[in-house]
Symmetry: C2
């Protein structure tokens, strides 16, 4: 992989837009990136979040079907992949990992209720952040909602519900302490 300079995208900045010509891949140095699609009537689905160390930007056609934005101020490095001499085997692995992750998320959206979806997200973030008791939410409620396929009001209510059950503590609006990891895991069974 040809490394390039790191570009900083402030909160909400567009990394690429729907319809932009695709090609390069992107590597997250720090921060969080969301991959989204907007339907004609304005409904948004966030297909994935990407944090430091992850690669995004795979597209089957020459144009981006989805768009990418910085969630919280993110540093992104462009990977010049299209020159033929690269090890496409590792690219394949990355693409398949994305596929698996997306398929798992399909299960969440298709067959889980609101609480279970929230539990899945908390455990996912927890795992990616090292697995301590604290979970940091880099995105706001609106993003969580559009990722989980529910409304931001429901996100609020579910968090309150988890708090009342002593499964989590809300240290701050974007800082959560997991009190009962097993309870969350059971919700995702």
């Amino acid at each position: 992989m040809q490394p390039a300079a790191v570009t900083f995208y402030p909160e909400g900045a567009v990394i690429y837009a729907q319809g932009d010509s695709a090609g390069p891949l992107y590597f997250v140095e720090f921060g969080t990136v969301r991959i989204c699609r907007m339907s004609a009537d304005g409904r948004r689905q966030i297909t994935s979040f990407h944090v430091a160390g992850e690669v995004f930007g795979f597209e089957a056609t020459g144009e981006h079907d989805f768009y990418a934005e910085s969630v919280d101020g993110a540093g992104v490095r462009v990977l010049r992949s299209t020159s033929g001499t690269q090890p496409t085997g590792s690219l394949l692995l990355l693409a398949v990992r994305s596929l698996t992750r997306t398929q798992n998320h399909l299960m969440v959206l298709g067959r889980r209720n609101a609480s279970e979806r929230m539990a899945a997200l908390l455990l996912d973030l927890n795992g990616r952040q090292g697995g301590g008791a604290l979970v940091h939410l880099p995105m706001q409620r609106n993003d969580i909602a559009d990722y989980l396929g529910i409304t931001f009001e429901t996100v609020s209510r579910i968090l309150r519900c988890l708090k009342d059950q002593h499964i989590v503590r809300l240290l701050a609006v974007n800082e959560i302490e997991i009190l009962d990891h097993d309870a969350l895991a059971e919700m995702c069974a």
Copy 2:
């Protein structure tokens, strides 16, 4: 790709199970294959259907996280891909196509109601079957439901609803005539 013999899987036969060791890819010669995941409490999500000409079996780990079954009697050819001399570039393209398809389905499950989901499936199948007025449903209501993240009763009701609106005609339980293609397309906007 090293071609191998075609194996016939009768209706409902397992092609590979959850937990099986992964590796080879599979090419559909004829019929339809479903890729599924089952949760601990028995809820099933079908992540994709594959018809003639398509490739499935991509897995990030050494084990299958999902399982594959024949929907209606399918002929499947194993591709020996793991030997290094193959053109991994085309594999990458196939994997990315699967990814894009799955991401599109995420939008359907996350942000669409039951009628819109059904419309999306009908148009998807219609496109894959050449785009005529007739759509053949190789799978039964239960499969449709588990693919769209709704119940099979709802599938029935939605089809009746589409019929009453003169958007489709139900020639047989698995044979549908599209009367108003635009109306379906508008539901997927």
